[in-house]
Amino acid sequence: MASVSLTNVVKAFGAFKVVHGVDLDIADGEFVVLLGPSGCGKTTTLRMVAGLEDVNGGEIRIAGEVINDRAPKDRKIAMVFQNYALYPHMTVRQNMEFALKPQRLSKAEVDAKIAGVAAMLGLDVLLHRKPAQLSGGQRQRVAMGRAMVRTPEVFLFDEPLSNLDAKLRTQVRMEIAKLHKQLGTTVIYVTHDQVEAMTLADKIVIMKDGHIEQIGSPEEVFARPKNLFVATFIGSPSMNLFRMTAERGDTGTVLSSPAFSLLLPVELGAKLKPGQAVTLGVRPSDVRLAQAGDADAIEARVEVVEYLGVEALVDLRIGTQEFIAQIPASERPALDQAVKVVFNPAGLHLFDSESGQAL
């Protein structure tokens, strides 16, 4: 097992920079997820750690040693590929044997390792089959098994669940979490699916356009997004955004827009100067229907109601401002009706409209 650290790592294809100086420290045994939209540089970063792409600047260390110019095989890593990359002309057992062969183990050791991993993943009955005879989920398991037999110091996963259907994805996701608990090996895991990131990660690294936007635990990136990108990227449905201006009111700082105005809690208000342009972020789950006696309720029109069983998503509109409320399904209003809503004061996020940074 080993720690991994990236210091100012740069990748460019010709004049086109795809990773701009990434810094990242991964502790021994940590499960780190690189999360971001496609083209954000997350896969390229992973491939640089694997040694499948050359590093154009900065240093990558595994267990303290700089491994920039080492061959992939000398990095003590194993990788699970997006399309599994199983050798189609070999059986499951041969796939694993092939992965072990360069380690020059005895026949008994190889058999023991394969048997151990096969038992752990339930592959015993599949060992003599070829990849074409396996289902998607089974292939995924074999790909993990092939990586596990090598007992690497670091596991690299490149979108390993993206080819599975939704149900299987949930199931395999849980298995991966269980395996990590069991093995305790350092994991770097690339995905564009925030649910995978939230459920699996000790630490999420959110990337965009080759830059790291935020590093933090799932709770941190959800509760305290550092900027507008992270705020809207994490969470589903996305955070509602309102462009507002700060004003000094009689009882404290007030945010106002043509649609509505809102009195801020004292500690938030203290961060703003009068006249400052801010973007207010409120997650749909922090919008609820006003009850009698709620001060500061905002009146909005119901445009669409999406019934989801336990909950309902309600599209609301005030003038040109649209936003979504996520409320218990039993409370859902009728269409085209005016309703009053309030924002949960603890769920208000303020961002500087110009820089997009959290305030």
């Binding site: 061959a71 890593i77 360069p102």
Partner: protein, 274 residues
């Protein structure tokens, strides 16, 4: 496409049938004449029902050393096929895997070598082989045929290698294999059908070739095609023998058409038709 009415179908069948018969006549003539007794060869009207004879085939191997010509053809054909496919597959793998903006130009450039008229290089080959004593040897033809077969193999195999996912090679890399081992343990086995297709094309081309064989061989390395042509001038036109030899020569090509038709399109149009 819409379904045809019975009348339309009849029309399609009759037009296609007539064209088919016209196209098959020369092939029928080769086979029929090779089996026709010499006395019937030019009887008019042509005898359709005659007693077939294998005399012309027997003559080929008794009166003429046609088996030696076939052996020469086989040596040259197999030699060039093995050499071209080996060298060509290596080059194709490189062109398929190296990331370089001008790699396609390089592939085109190699392919273009196949398209140059053979007659343009026959003179230098003649002089070069003469000076190194390779004239009238199978090796000379093996070398010359490779100039057409290697570019074709490079071009076709590049297409087959392009279809092998690079992730497989990356997986093997991570597992600790070197590039050479990855090539022959992973990539090549997966592109094996392509290798067979290339081998067949090299075989047919070398087997059928005439111009270089005529210019660069004399009596000892004479191939089957040149030998059949020589029956024309030397044997006072033994049509039976010519047709018997021709029929033997056209067998590999016909087998190829009947068995691997789907590869024919890809190979002959150089991938410009999918």
């Amino acid at each position: 496409m819409n379904r045809l009415s019975t009348r339309q179908a009849t029309l399609v069948y009759s037009v296609t049938g007539i064209i088919l018969i016209i196209f098959m006549i020369p092939i029928y003539l080769i086979l029929a004449s090779s089996l026709k007794p010499s006395a019937d060869m030019f009887s008019r009207p042509p005898t359709v029902f005659f007693t077939p004879t294998l005399q012309h085939y027997v003559d080929l191997f008794t009166l003429r050393p046609f088996h030696w010509n076939i052996i020469n053809s086989l040596i040259v054909t197999l030699g060039s096929t093995v050499f071209s496919v080996t060298i060509g597959a290596l080059g194709a793998f490189a062109l398929s895997r190296i990331r370089h903006p001008r790699i396609n130009d390089a592939a085109f450039w190699i392919l273009s070598m196949r398209m140059f008229p053979p007659i343009a290089v026959v003179v230098p080959y003649y002089i070069i082989f003469k000076s190194v004593g390779l004239l009238d040897t199978p090796l000379a033809l093996i070398i010359v045929y490779s100039t057409a077969n290697i570019p074709l193999t490079v071009w076709l195999m590049k297409g087959f290698f392009d279809e092998v996912p690079e992730a497989l090679e990356e997986a093997a890399q991570v597992d600790g294999y070197g590039i050479v081992e990855i090539f022959y343990r992973i990539t090549l086995p997966l592109a094996a059908p392509g290798l067979a297709v290339c081998a067949v094309f090299c075989f047919i081309f070398s087997w059928n070739e005439f111009l270089f064989a005529l210019m660069l061989t004399g009596s000892s390395a004479q191939t089957a095609t040149v030998a059949v042509m020589s029956f024309w001038s030397s044997d006072a036109v033994q049509w039976g023998r010519i047709m018997a030899g021709s029929f033997i020569i056209l067998i590999p090509g016909v087998i190829f058409v009947l068995t691997c038709q789907k590869w024919l399109v890809k190979g002959l149009t150089l991938g410009s038709v999918k």
